[in-house]
Amino acid sequence: MDESASALLPCRPTVVMVGMSVLRSAAAFAARLTPLKPGSSPANLLTRAIPRTDKAAIRWGHGKKMFVIKPSDYYDRRFLRLLQYYVLLTGIPVAIIVTGVNLFIGEAELAEIPEGYEPEHWEYYKHPITRWISRNLYDSPVKDYEKMMAAIQIEKEKADMRLTQMEVRRHMRESGDGPWFQIPTLNKDLIDHSPKASPDN
């Protein structure tokens, strides 16, 4: 049973293969520890079938051969196999790294801030991976705060400028003595008044 199942699996080494060989060696060890009744052949030591010694069977071996007709489970097993592979591809290195960090570096301990010392922004976190991320990947919270305040200041200045522009438009439209809302008209000096110069033309 074990050999046939192993033959069906592809030759990619997976965790299942390792588990199966462990199981097989454990079954052999258990068989050696507790020997079955006489009349049991080594073939069914693995399957742990208890033979009946009162009725002598004509056929020894596997048992009746059956041709099991069932729908193909190749696609399901392929999916699970690929899922396992791709999950473990990054899962195992991440697990090793996190375990190593927790074992060999360990979490930080709380301490009082020494006099006259300004701690860096990553020294306010406990876990070493959080400290690393804060040191290398993130900006310091002070910088983020200042960036946000700068954005707010810019928006405030834009809003103020828009409000003053609206006010100025209103004034320019009302009084009309400013540079805006001037409609260009023709020069009065260009008008030829000669047809109207004398009244009896």
């Binding site: 060999f104 930080a108 301990e109 801030i113 020294e123 306010y124 400290r131 707010i152």
Partner: protein, 171 residues
């Protein structure tokens, strides 16, 4: 591993181990079991922890508790001063977090007291229970139904409602 509780806070009574007066030749099963547990479980676990601690003590890390400066409140900000509003809002958020932690600490104290006293906790833990009730009532009245989008402004409005209700009641 979390630190052990403060031994001076809850002092244990001095132990009174009796003198061993064995009168039979039969082995003591309790002694055998404790020795088995010690050698099979306790000793390997302690040695592993000592090994890991000795590796860890080479690179010791420290972290500090950050202290923030107090900035002007929302009530002390001008009408259009959005930067001041932002700083007040951040300060209010930090204070909100601190208040949540305070409630958690008081709750922890009450739970520890209940666990210690056992069945007579209603009588012996009256002080802790009273403190917990006060703290939670105050927290509820201040931050109670602000919701997920709570902000300093909404909390201020809630305080205004509270003051109005108190004034209407006293008048």
């Amino acid at each position: 591993m979390p630190a052990d509780y403060d031994k001076d806070a809850y002092p244990e009574p001095p132990r009174k181990t009796p003198v061993v007066d064995k009168q039979t030749a039969l082995p003591n099963p309790a002694l055998i079991l404790t020795k088995v547990f010690y050698y099979a479980v306790d000793l390997p676990v302690t040695t592993f922890r000592d090994v890991v601690d000795s590796i860890r003590s080479n690179n010791k890390l420290v972290y500090y508790h950050q202290r923030f400066r107090r900035v002007p409140d929302l009530t002390e900000c001008q009408e259009g001063d959005y930067v001041c509003c932002y700083e007040a809002e951040m300060q209010w958020r930090r204070d909100y977090k601190v208040d949540q932690e305070i409630v958690k600490v008081v709750q922890e104290r009450m739970k520890a007291c209940q666990q210690r006293e056992g069945d007579s906790y209603k009588q012996n833990c009256a002080r802790e229970i009273q403190q917990f009730n006060d703290v939670t009532k105050n927290y509820q009245s201040r931050y109670g139904d602000l919701g997920a989008y709570a902000s300093g402004r909404k909390c201020l409005m809630k305080q205004k409602e509270r003051m109005m209700a108190a004034q209407a009641q006293s008048a």
